[in-house]
C-alpha cells in the first residue's frame, strides 16, 4: 500500500475485485429462498451458524464502533425489512435448537 492517505484507491466494476467474503455474504445470506426437497430447516440452522460467525459478529463489532446507523434509518433500509429480521430469525432458530441466547443480545 503506497500513499494511502493522499490517493484514494478505486477498484471499480471489476469482477476480479470480488473477494470471498463478498461472495459468501451474498450466496449464503441473500438470494431467493425456495424450499427444496432436502430439508432446508436443518440447512438453515447450519448456514445461520456460519452467519453467526461471519455476519452477526460483524454487526456486533460495528455497533461497538458506533457504526450501526443503517439499522435505525428507515429511509436507508427501506422500512423495517432490513434491521432486525436476521436477529429475530436467529433467535427463533436458536430457541428451537436449544442454544442459549448470547449475552450481547440482552442489552
Amino acid at each position: 500500500m503506497t500513499n494511502p492517505a493522499q490517493t484514494p484507491q478505486r477498484y471499480l466494476g471489476r469482477r476480479e475485485a470480488a473477494q470471498l467474503p463478498d461472495v459468501l455474504e451474498r450466496v449464503l445470506d441473500k438470494g431467493i429462498v425456495i424450499a427444496g426437497d432436502i430439508q432446508v430447516s436443518l440447512l438453515d440452522i447450519e448456514l445461520l451458524t456460519i452467519k453467526l460467525r461471519l455476519l452477526v459478529a460483524s454487526a456486533d463489532k460495528a455497533k461497538e464502533m458506533g457504526i450501526d446507523w443503517w439499522q435505525h434509518d428507515p429511509f436507508l433500509t427501506g422500512g423495517d425489512r432490513n434491521g432486525n429480521e436476521l436477529e429475530d430469525r436467529l433467535r427463533r432458530l436458536e430457541q428451537k435448537a436449544g442454544i442459549e441466547q448470547r449475552a450481547s443480545d440482552e442489552s
Binding site: P4, A5, Q6, P8, Q9, R10, Y11, L12, G13, R15, A17, A18, Q19, L20, P21, D22, V23, L24, E25, R26, V27, L28, D29, K30, G31, I32, V33, I34, A35, G36, D37, I38, Q39, V40, L42, L43, E46, L47, I50, L54, L55, A57, S58, A59, K61, A62, M65, G66, I67, W69, W70, D73, F75, L76, T77, G78, R81, N82
Partner: protein, 254 residues
C-alpha cells in the same frame, strides 16, 4: 463425476426466462462436475445441475457446511455459474443449497411459483447489482513527528484519539450522504452490516457495505458517481456486477 452407484439429485442455482440463451453457461464449473442445464416450465427456466446425494443429501450436506474449504469452494461455484448469466439475461439468484430429489420436483416448484418468478424477472431485467464498500483510511497516519519524551508520546496518543473520534463522526455523515446519493441513482438500495477486519482483510474500518440495483447501461455513471465521493479519508470500493442477490427477498417482491 457422480459415480454410477451414487444416487443423484438436482441442485438449483437460479431462475431465468424460458427463452434465455445460455449456451456459454453450460460449460461453467458448477457445484459438481456435471453439466449445467436448464429445466423449463411455462415462461421460466431453472438453472440446474445433477449432484450426488453423497454430498448433497441432508446429512452429508450438514457435514459439508461445517467444512470451510468445501463451503467456500461450493459457494463460489454457485456464484460463478450465476455470474455467467449476469448481463446476458434477467436472472433470479437462489440462495445456496436448494436441492430437489428429481427433475419433477424442480418442475413442480417452477409451476407453483411461476407468477412470482416471472414478476421478479421482469423487475430485475436490464439491471445488475453493484456492491459499494467504503473504508475509513487514517488521514493522521505518519503526520506527527516521533515523540521526544514519554509525555509527548502520551499527548500525541490523546490527540490522536480525539482526532479519530471527530474524524469518524464526520466520516459517518459523509457516508450517509454518499449512500443517500447513490440510492437516488439506483432502482434499489440495501445497506448491509459492514464487514469486520477479519472478513474484509483490511485494517481500516469499513463504514459502508451496501448493494445497489443499477440499470445495466448506467453502470459507468453509477461507478463514477460512487468514486466521486472518495477522498483522502474515504476509500471507495465498487464490486460487481453481481446477480441481484440483495434484491430478491420475499419482502422485495411484494
Amino acid at each position: 463425476m457422480i459415480s454410477s452407484g451414487v444416487k443423484a439429485a438436482w441442485y438449483v442455482y437460479g431462475v431465468v426466462p424460458a427463452d434465455a440463451r445460455l449456451d456459454a453457461l453450460t460449460d461453467a464449473d458448477g457445484v459438481a462436475s456435471t453439466r449445467i442445464q436448464l429445466v423449463t416450465e411455462g415462461a421460466v427456466a431453472a438453472i440446474v445441475c445433477r449432484v450426488g446425494l453423497d454430498d448433497f443429501a441432508e446429512e452429508p450436506l450438514r457435514r459439508n457446511l461445517e467444512d470451510r474449504a468445501w463451503l467456500e469452494q461450493t459457494a463460489s461455484a454457485h456464484d460463478r455459474v450465476l455470474s455467467g448469466a449476469v448481463g446476458v439475461t434477467p436472472l433470479v439468484p437462489l440462495r445456496f443449497g436448494t436441492v430437489f430429489r428429481d427433475e419433477a420436483g424442480v418442475r413442480e416448484m417452477l409451476v407453483e411459483r411461476e407468477a412470482e418468478l416471472r414478476d421478479a424477472l421482469e423487475r430485475l431485467g436490464g439491471h445488475v447489482e453493484l456492491g459499494v464498500k467504503v473504508f475509513l483510511v487514517d488521514p493522521a497516519r505518519g503526520e506527527e513527528a516521533k515523540p521526544a519524551t514519554g509525555r509527548d508520546y502520551l499527548l500525541q496518543k490523546q490527540r490522536a484519539r480525539d482526532a479519530a473520534s471527530t474524524v469518524q463522526a464526520e466520516a459517518l455523515e459523509q457516508v450517509r450522504a454518499l449512500h443517500e446519493h447513490l440510492a437516488t441513482l439506483a432502482d434499489g438500495a440495501h445497506a448491509n452490516p459492514p464487514q469486520p477486519p477479519e472478513l474484509s482483510g483490511r485494517r481500516e474500518p469499513m463504514l459502508l457495505n451496501a448493494a445497489y440495483l443499477v440499470r445495466s447501461d448506467e453502470q459507468p455513471e453509477f461507478i463514477a458517481a460512487a468514486a466521486d465521493h472518495g477522498d483522502g479519508r474515504l476509500e471507495i470500493l465498487v464490486t460487481g456486477p453481481w446477480p441481484a442477490y440483495n434484491f430478491v427477498q420475499a419482502e422485495e417482491a411484494e
